[in-house]
Symmetry: C2
């Protein structure tokens, strides 16, 4: 007989069934869809007006979550907009925390897919209601401008969470719960078995969050694991704990209200001086690891956490190839926004832009390499001319190391456009920097074919467009990429680009010169990363992202006569 908690969660499943069904349709069709509004004005007036105060009420005090007895406190977040958050979080004894989650696992497993998915859908809906407040927390940890923090940290992250739940539900629902197995035996009675199948979670799931997208990059792994029955440890980045803590709190509240152990979703905090992710990732009870962050640690996880299924999103050399254009102005306007948005701190932001050193055709005219470079520089300048608008696009630089990298990279090439420090209109002391644009030759691979995280991009002079394709192929095969943009008026060239994209397994955007940008990835439509090149070993989200999070355990017996 199902427990009270299970029945209550199943009611949530029924309550949210229409949303789930529409999400299932969306992942089958992958056209545009989102259940969570990205328009602030669509949220209740009280939520909008109270958001700032609700955020401030969290500052300068402990943030309280459920878990074992605290053995310490950590938290030293500082807003990239120039002030300390002053929030502290409990630290737990890892042994106690993992043991508690292990103990909570069977009840969560036995609740079954419907109950778990019902709980996940409720958590997502409550996260959505919290979006206006979450936006402030995301802004003041990541440095994203407010509107981006609201959209990417709120609705878009929730979309990604729901998308993962939909994939998880589909994968679980495709396994029948029971069957009659009747095998004919000629003139004898058939063999007749009753069979049952259980969805069994792999074990504990460790989700290692990043500092720049603490919700967007965390929700897919969190919800995919939780829906498939795995308790989740969310290890926040020391620089962006608060949005993760707020998300964990919502999950804990829903779980506790239903009667499950709220520690099924637990927050883990650490400090740069005493990191804990390595130790947790190697614990034999941890069977799933989701990671967003550096190549070094991602590759370490892939090589060492062999007891676990490891899903990594690392970094690569995001690439644009310009072969020929119809309207270069529209192209560079589009690219200028891509390069400037959140100061290039997106894992999808272009770093290398290949342009033939002899220039390109633009409509009826031939433009020199210098003219192309100048057009892009001018477009960035135009976009960022108005300081208020610039700050609303750029946001702030999350980490001081990223700001320092701008200076360190200046000498890697010829400066086409130098990075400037800007003064934020509301937050003096913000870490605001405009993009640095460098010119290098294709031979200077040490410069442009290493990841340079932040507002740093290279225009790379190649022999010709065939050479651009070849260099891009080699660099992406070796270093990976999340995105490839190609501009050409020649369909034969675009077919080569389409083949290249498949050969190195990178998502291709063709001739984006309007209101869609190469670094944007829309849930329910764009697969984020392919998992097929060194930039990531998994895609968010597809069937492979969820199917390895559970196993199927069968039981069979002779059918009752």
């Amino acid at each position: 007989m199902p427990s009270t908690a299970t029945r209550a969660a199943q009611e949530l499943f029924d309550h949210h069934r229409a949303t789930l069904d529409r999400a299932l349709q969306a992942i089958a069709e992958r056209g545009y869809w989102s259940p969570y509004s990205e328009q602030l004005k669509q949220y209740p007036q009280t939520a909008i007006e109270g958001a700032q105060a609700a955020f401030e009420a969290l500052l300068n005090r402990p943030f309280v979550l459920q878990g074992p007895a605290a053995v310490g406190r950590a938290g030293a977040e500082r807003s990239p907009y120039g002030f300390d958050l002053g929030v502290s979080y409990d630290q737990y004894d890892p042994e106690q925390l993992l043991a508690r989650q292990q103990q909570a696992l069977p009840a969560w497993r036995d609740a079954g897919p419907q109950a778990r998915v019902g709980a996940c859908l409720e958590i997502l809906q409550r996260l959505n209601a919290l979006s206006p407040t979450l936006a402030h927390a995301v802004m003041h940890t990541t440095g994203q401008a407010f509107m981006m923090a609201f959209q990417a940290g709120g609705a878009h992250a929730q979309d990604r969470g729901l998308e993962a739940v939909a994939y998880a539900w589909r994968a679980m629902a495709e396994v029948p719960q029971a069957a009659q197995w009747l095998k004919p035996q000629g003139k004898l009675d058939p063999l007749h078995l009753d069979k049952r199948w259980h969805i069994v979670p792999r074990g504990l799931s460790l989700v290692i969050a990043c500092s720049t997208f603490p919700t967007w990059n965390t929700y897919p792994g969190l919800f995919a694991s939780l829906a498939t029955g795995n308790p989740v440890l969310v290890k926040a980045h020391p620089g962006a704990i608060l949005p993760v803590a707020m998300s964990v709190k919502v999950a804990q509240e829903v779980l506790a209200e239903l009667g499950f152990d709220p520690a099924l979703v637990s927050l883990v905090v650490d400090t740069p001086e005493a990191p804990v992710a390595q130790q947790l990732a190697l614990d034999p009870r941890v069977k799933l690891v989701d990671f967003t962050g550096s190549n070094a640690f991602g590759e370490w996880l892939e090589r060492h956490a062999l007891q676990a299924q490891v899903f990594t999103e690392k970094a690569g050399i995001n690439t644009v190839i310009i072969d020929s254009t119809r309207d270069l102005k529209a192209v560079v306007k589009n690219l200028a926004f891509s390069l400037s948005l959140y100061s290039g701190q997106m894992c999808t932001t272009t770093q290398a832009i290949y342009v033939p050193r002899g220039g390109i055709r633009n409509g009826d005219e031939q433009l020199s390499f210098a003219q192309v470079a100048e057009a892009l520089s001018a477009a960035i300048n135009a976009l960022l001319a108005d300081n208020d608008r610039a700050c609303a696009v750029l946001g702030a630089i999350q980490a001081q190391a990223t700001a320092a990298r701008i200076d360190a990279c200046r000498e890697l090439g010829d400066v086409l456009l130098d990075s400037e420090v800007r003064e934020h209109p509301q937050f003096p002391g913000s870490r605001v920097h405009t993009p640095l644009l460098l010119k290098v030759d294709a031979a200077q691979r040490d410069a442009y074919a290493q990841e340079r995280f932040g507002p740093i991009a290279f225009i790379v002079a190649t022999d010709d467009s065939a050479h651009s394709l070849q260099v891009a192929r080699e660099v992406i095969a070796a270093k990976g990429a999340m995105t490839l943009g190609v501009y050409s008026t020649d369909e034969a060239f675009l077919e080569q680009a389409e083949a290249l994209a498949q050969d190195v397994a990178v998502a291709l955007s063709v001739n984006l010169d309007g209101g869609v940008f190469v670094n944007q990835s829309a849930a329910f439509s764009d697969f984020h990363a392919t998992g097929g090149n060194p930039a990531a070993n998994a895609s968010i989200s597809d069937g492979a992202f969820v199917s390895r999070r559970f196993v199927i355990v069968q039981s069979r017996r002779h059918a009752a006569q």
Copy 2:
């Protein structure tokens, strides 16, 4: 425009569509179904009558396959029934072979899911027609008795291949090929993108076959990889090459007839003295490895072939727990067949049988431990009393090392039933041995909790049935298991067993005392292994078995105005 080869393969897809659709229904329902008859008499009379001669025509000569220029020859198979096969096979330069497959990959990828699945379905149908001849090749490499070789090596293996194709097709078909993405922009025109998605194979696929089930354990990985676009290297076990070579030949014929490079499926042979699997498994072009065999090499692959997705089926401690029975005679008759079938050389054969040292309830009577042990010994004796029948159940021991293990294990416990050497009625010199049954105490874990491959089983005396559950839990958690059989008349105990099965992720069979055996695993219904305990890291076949074999590459552009 699709190539001629692609169009021809798409026609095969249409031709076999009804079979595929029925297979899709089967994996969704997992009741009984098989498209390939396990009844020899259902095959054409000419095929049955010509099978022996067709097999003999292959002996004592080179077996010819397509591939790069040969650089050597290997093959020293000896039938466990006592004669040399005398077949030799080409060996290729690995660099040339891998380069050729890499070159063949794009055309196979670009043919698309329908064409690839069409080719796979045709290969399977031709393999089915070859079943009577394949049976002899399986028999005289594995040692399986003829009827088992015909069924398990023929129809059942083809079922497993088709099952993998069905999962692969479902996973690929769930990815839309294209979509219109229309995002509303308030009063402005919506953003409008055309999007396309490509199924992109991971790369080269290495399938490492085993000596006991060279087709059954090979077809799932082979067909899952091939259907999803990956060229396949089948590395045969030196002791069982011929059935693999015959299967590869059928695949090559279909591929060549369609106009694809037949080397998309290639045979790799080696010798025990100069094995090649390690080197191939670490090649950066090899992105998928399927392995059936020893724990030592399986774990080595899991730890070292980190550039690849690795699917292993290794070994564990298959377990039966006897708590109480209604009809012990029926139970021991069932177990006697399980332990004797193919001399215990199935990865699903029981090794440890836990019985309380105080005995068990059987119906209305109390039986002592000795009575239970004696009943099982007597049942094995009865089953194997008639030598012809015994040989038809036992088959022959594949490897001399397995026969030697019987002797080595005698001193591990008290001999309840000694292993006997038998004379095969048709093949003098066959390696035929009856099961060895030992009594040990639960404390003697070194004896029974190590895999003892072959006709070697232990009755393990425990404190009581709760102790049986506890020991089974610990042993399976540590060493893994493919199968768990439980006998009890107490539903509360069976519920504990059901929980145990989930906790250690092992397939459970309850009270099998008729014509179904714990070591049997039926395609389209029983998941073979769970992938959730140390005996295997993957299941044959489920969604997770196929979804990691390809990635999804998208391209998007503004819709034409």
